[in-house]
Amino acid sequence: MNATTLPTTARVRRTRATQEPAWVRWSLIGLTLAFLTLFLFVPLILVFYEALKKGTDVYFAAIIEPDALSAIRLTLTVAAIAVPLNLVFGVAAAWAIAKFEFRGKNLLITLIDLPFSVSPVVSGLIYVLIFGLQGWLGPWLAEHDIKVIFAVTGIVLATVFVTVPFIARELIPLMQAQGTEEEEAAVALGANGWQTFSRVTLPNIKWGLLYGTILCNARAMGEFGAVSVVSGHIRGSTNTLPLHVEILYNEYNFAAAFAVASLLALLALVTLALKTMVESRITQPKENANEHRSA
């Protein structure tokens, strides 16, 4: 009996010895919870409360109103173009950076990070300066009757720019950690390029890729700054969901603004749920990968 109880008490004592006193623990936890409540939970609940305050009829009316539907459609279209583009670019860039040695590699990594460090409004302005009527390519575009600024094309471009880092950034460290040996083994066994990618590389990065895609999608649908500069806020034509929320709010149409905002909030919640699910899958292969390397 003694033999079995002894180690347990020893362990309990050891953990206590290395822990902070109870009041430190509880005040840290309390502080974190208070902060989260104040700045995250309350606003989130408020969005839904304000949206539904005047009843579900008003709520649904605000959502199925033609301009709102058009905004939803546009947001989905933009995401449907921007996310696949960045998916391809992200995988290609991560592949290049992680598996090859070349000059200017660090510069490329820095460039991929650029959209993170530049204010979205500035990136929107860059597109206006390039494609706008007074911009570098403006006259040429006008001549050929191509509209980029204040049109869907511009919105897509701005969104692509802002969301570039998400997938590449997620994949680069993952692929670097995995190295190139498995690919070399596959090729030595006779696999061609596509077989190597689809059977070896892709399965090894699939969770990281999904994780990056989810974040990329959330940002693509929620982007405000860059899109706001290039869109021109034309109702029913170049308004995305976030822009539509702003317009409704500026018109003191609070119930409708919050109703549309609640859609974006829902998107955020779904994203979070997916992200958590993927994260739990991602940490398992990572652990295995470490074990695989260290053994």
Binding site: E181, E182, E184, A185, A186, V187, A188, L189, G190, A191, N192, Q195, R199, V200, P203, N204, P285, N288, A289, E291, H292, R293, A295
Partner: protein, 357 residues
């Protein structure tokens, strides 16, 4: 299948990994590329496989130029130091991979693949692990699976890059003799890279000693150990003692002891270094004639059948300790303890004139 490389050179930036390397691997032999890290041995192996491309030179398989052939077409089995098993596939699928990626017209039917994979898994004695994933296996098991995977495509040559480098000493020894037996059964031309001289000497038919991108010596384990061609090989293969010497018209003075050196008949007052293996030094309590060096015993290690002594020369400038190995019987006869005076004489030695810088 024989392999031949001719005048291979390869630079990584300013680092020359291979400098004009030529080598022939005979059909069916097990060859070791031995050298310290940075000696170019792994690069040579990767160039043979086609995973790296040499800046200059040729690779020939069975007399046919394969220099421009893609890895895919060379039909080599490559085993990586860190196994490189596909982590997302079961052990079965890992071994089956090489057969599954074949073009449709040459791909064996599923039943045949299954049979072949199980055959190979039995060969490496790990049939019971077929449904596991690589991360569930120990290092030694993974390396055996990596070997089975490489053999699945029936390669013409087997190339192994430090195959046992990441394993602990005991597993390493087991796998070493297992590989030797496997090779004796299959007779597939094999080249393996190692920095462990014991491993190379124990397993290989022939050993290629490499240093700084060049081949220092090629020979059977006996040849390279007993007759090292250069000071580097001497120092790299086993322990060796260095004695300052002088050469003059077929005579040599090794730390003052005069001996015959007929192969240096032309030498005129040449400074040289004598290389003597620890077991090629005679130890006596009394001086046998005048051709002996006085030394003092500073350390005795008498565990095992061989007794290791560490000696310091008494009347020499050189205070580097001398390593000597004598049999247990000889040790009992001499009854040596620390602090005793002894007289030593090199029994066999090699003289290398100092390089002129």
């Amino acid at each position: 299948m024989s392999i031949e490389v001719r005048n291979l050179s390869k630079q990584f930036g300013t680092f020359a990994a291979l400098r004009d390397v030529s080598l022939e691997v005979r059909s069916g032999e097990l060859l070791a590329l031995l050298g310290p890290s940075g000696s170019g041995k792994t690069t040579l192996l990767r160039v043979i496989a086609g995973l790296d491309v040499a800046d200059a030179g040729q690779v020939l398989f069975q007399g046919e130029d394969a220099t421009d052939q893609h890895v895919r077409e060379r039909q080599v089995g490559f085993v990586f130091q860190h196994y490189a098993l596909f982590r997302n596939m079961t052990i079965f699928e890992n071994v089956a991979f090489g057969l599954r990626v074949r073009p449709k017209d040459v791909r064996p039917p599923d039943a045949e693949i299954r049979e072949r994979v199980h055959e190979l898994l039995k060969l490496v004695q790990l049939d019971w692990l077929a449904e596991r994933y690589p991360h569930q296996l120990s290092g030694g098991q993974r390396q055996r699976i990596a070997l089975a995977r490489a053999l699945a495509v029936e390669p013409k040559v087997l190339l192994l890059d430090e195959p046992f480098g990441a394993l602990d000493a005991k597993v390493r020894k087991e796998l070493r003799s297992w590989l030797r037996r496997l090779h004796d059964d299959m007779h597939i031309t094999s080249v393996f890279v190692t920095h462990d001289q014991e491993e190379a000497l124990e397993v290989a038919d022939r050993v290629v000693v490499m240093n700084e991108g060049r081949i220092e010596q090629i020979g059977t384990p006996d040849e390279v150990y007993e007759n090292p061609a250069s000071p580097f090989v001497y120092e790299f293969l086993g322990n060796v003692n260095l004695f300052h010497s002088r050469l003059h018209r077929g005579r040599a003075w090794i730390d003052g002891i005069e001996v015959d050196a007929p192969e240096h008949a032309e030498a005129e007052e040449l400074a040289a270094v004598a290389y003597v293996r620890p077991h090629d030094i005679e130890v006596d309590r009394v001086a046998q004639g005048e051709a002996a060096l006085a030394a003092r015993v500073t350390h005795v290690l008498s565990v095992g059948p061989i007794v290791r002594l560490e000696l310091i020369r008494e009347d020499s400038e050189d205070k580097n300790p001398i390593q000597v190995e004598i049999s247990k019987e000889r040790f009992r006869e001499l009854q040596l303890v620390r602090g005793d005076q002894v007289f030593i004489k090199p029994r066999r030695f090699d003289l290398f004139p100092n390089r002129i810088h």
